[in-house]
Symmetry: C2
Subunit: 325 residues, 2 copies
Amino acid sequence: MLAEFDLIRRYLMPSQKRLATDGVALGSGDDAALLIPQAGHQLAVSVDTSVVNVHFPHDAPSFAIGHRALAVALSDLAAMGADARWCFMALTLDQRTFNDDAAIHLWMDGFGQGFHGLCQRHAATLAGGDVTAGELAIGVTVMGELPAGRALTRGGARPGDVIAVTGELGGGAGGLALWKRGERDLEHPLLRRYLLPEPRLAAGVALLGLASAAMDISDGLLADLGHLREASGVGAILDKEALPLAEGLESALGRDDAQQAALSGGDDYELLVTLAPGDVAHAQQRLNEQGLALTVIGQCTEALGVQGIAPDHHAGWQHFNEGTP
Amino acid sequence: MLAEFDLIRRYLMPSQKRLATDGVALGSGDDAALLIPQAGHQLAVSVDTSVVNVHFPHDAPSFAIGHRALAVALSDLAAMGADARWCFMALTLDQRTFNDDAAIHLWMDGFGQGFHGLCQRHAATLAGGDVTAGELAIGVTVMGELPAGRALTRGGARPGDVIAVTGELGGGAGGLALWKRGERDLEHPLLRRYLLPEPRLAAGVALLGLASAAMDISDGLLADLGHLREASGVGAILDKEALPLAEGLESALGRDDAQQAALSGGDDYELLVTLAPGDVAHAQQRLNEQGLALTVIGQCTEALGVQGIAPDHHAGWQHFNEGTP
């Protein structure tokens, strides 16, 4: 195995010069990184592990694996309305799956590009890492900041609030279905949704002070709405026809499966938010300025449970590891 | 598989009431934890992954696995002189290795006890976690705080500084050797050193303002001294006879192998520090008050390289996964 520090420094760490401007007093190479938090802010912290053949196919391009592992973690910061600041990576690499050191370098080069491209777009700095031998897995810890007391949580929805989602739904499940059918063109919009999701960080920040509750859609709309309903103590009525289906989803899966993917498919990484009716137009305007749609799909109710959706739609979507990759 | 959130809440998370007093504005159950950093402080952050059969034997007690995964991460904070504040766990569990749900609960119960016992002793709060399916691995992110600009780094050693280590050396490698021979009594001092190391957090804090450089000994004294020498631009002369051998090490391995374990064995998690000669007595007094020895084992030199040790001792110690568990 190549030396851990060499792999980290070559492919993962930005230069120390860059770090100095990013609130990093001391980066990789010592026992711990030293970070400089902003006064008056809270830290939003989340950890996510992506495991081969559970969260992504073993033969996915390493660029996509690096991008996706970070994207799903950053999505949690987006759901709080936090600005991304720093991230840490715990990479577990299985050297037995590589023919030689050159193959490791090639894989790491793509992986690092996917990871860093996303870091740069969201001003997140990789401030430390760890490389270990074992089954391929990427543990990512993300740290963001937001003004104290302003975070978007899951518990603030009130009866009468509107339910809305950013972007499009069902693309994660649709892309997975296409991958299983052998589609490998990363330019295909559904495959992009599945392998290269874009965390909605700017949208989360734009919704601070407008949304009454927010979370990201990782387990599927209905499952995640269930978490939000439980935390807020509300029910929901959904308008199935209003769901914004991902581009190409209906032609790939047919109308019924497309709706099912939008309701129960995971891996969309859009934001699910609730808003007072009077704040919807303002929120839509802010997100439209980012080129992102905010679609009203229902309303919070006092009566618990979900109305407007047949109970058979509540079944979970097939996970990657439950089918034949 | 049991529901992720159930496992996290039952075995890993402290009560929300406890969290409120620990600088945690929002704990598990939302998209991210919200932490309240202290003004005027820097954050020390480190990530460590412990993988089954690489970092610990698959049949180690889950209590020890939980303790050890956190201990090796906290040890990095100790080496900076930071106070432990928060930690996050990314647990990957292989359900195929359990006969039934009851076996998972039994394992998790021991694991949680080992993890939380150490959290409590060092006032660290588990503020979030993630449970995933895959090969058993524990990723731990630890976050500590220390007054801005006061951290102990690896780069501050100067020629003439004394080299010293806390506690005892070689116990990690000695305990591993005993484990391979079939020893399973966790009360054996060497097995305790290997499976239940105690991170030197209080010692690190006590050395702030006294030590010129510090790091923890995880790869073995000579390897880690190499990192410190490189970061500081100094050489070293070591007194092999001065090495504080772990209790029972010489009788278990013989004199030569005991010294080799102290020089090149990993997993000791003691602190390696350098100090101006005039600060040694003061530092020893502070650590003695904690019941911990600080033993002078050499001195920093202008001439690079290491003197006092035969070159054949520089070979690395056998790792767990290189032998037959």
